[in-house]
């Protein structure tokens, strides 16, 4: 009976460790991810005013897009397009890196759609995002 209890305890421990492994976080602390993050953080200062005035909105595929170029003075539009392109480069790289960092490159599209939802969820009121029908003001 004693041996039975020991076996049960051992198995219980094993199963718990399996479950703990399942609940483990995704790896997001690689040098590549950190550098993409800091590049996006630096850009956010400029982008946030474009989010606020509706010039730029969030797409359903986890990227950003120019929504209303008229919200930006003509002189700044070149800058606006460059910012959006650079931000999308970083975002695409970020989703890919997260999938790679966790040894599952095929997870990229799921990482992307998770992010797409979370960006919109965390966006400030008044910012725009795309849903099935078009642009929506949050």
């Amino acid at each position: 009976m004693k041996r039975f209890i020991t076996t049960c305890l051992l198995l219980g421990g094993l199963l718990t460790s399996v479950l703990a492994y399942a609940a483990a976080d995704l790896e997001i602390n690689t040098p590549a991810i950190t550098s993409i993050k800091s590049s996006m953080q630096a850009r956010h200062g400029q982008l946030s005013s474009f989010y606020a005035n509706g010039a730029v909105g969030f797409t359903r595929d986890g990227l950003v897009a120019v929504r209303d170029a008229n919200a930006v003075p003509l002189a700044q539009r070149q800058n606006l397009n460059a910012l959006v392109a650079a931000e999308n480069n970083d975002r695409n790289a970020l989703y890919k890196e997260i999938a790679n960092a966790n040894s599952h490159p095929e997870w990229e599209s799921e990482v992307r759609s998770t992010f797409a939802q979370r960006w919109i969820q965390k966006a400030q009121g008044g910012w725009y995002y795309q849903d099935g029908g078009g642009w929506v003001k949050k």
Binding site: R3, F4, V18, A23, D25, H104, R118, K122
Partner: protein, 61 residues
């Protein structure tokens, strides 16, 4: 009776191992959401970093 239990243990192990593999194949949606939130908080600086703010709070006390 003891023989029966001796057989149960290996079977449980056999059942537990594929569980590990299955977990790894399916996309961990909850963990991904948590990871996304942490990255977005960092990029948008939605949450003040706790490290610098904690000593300041302690000073106030």
């Amino acid at each position: 009776m003891q023989i029966t239990w001796k057989w149960v243990a290996p079977w449980l192990l056999v059942l537990a191992l594929p569980a590990c593999v299955t977990i790894n194949i399916y996309f961990p949606a909850a963990a991904a959401e948590k990871a996304a939130d942490r990255i977005i908080d960092d990029v948008w600086q939605l949450k003040e970093k706790t490290a610098p703010s904690t000593p300041a709070e302690e000073k106030d006390k």
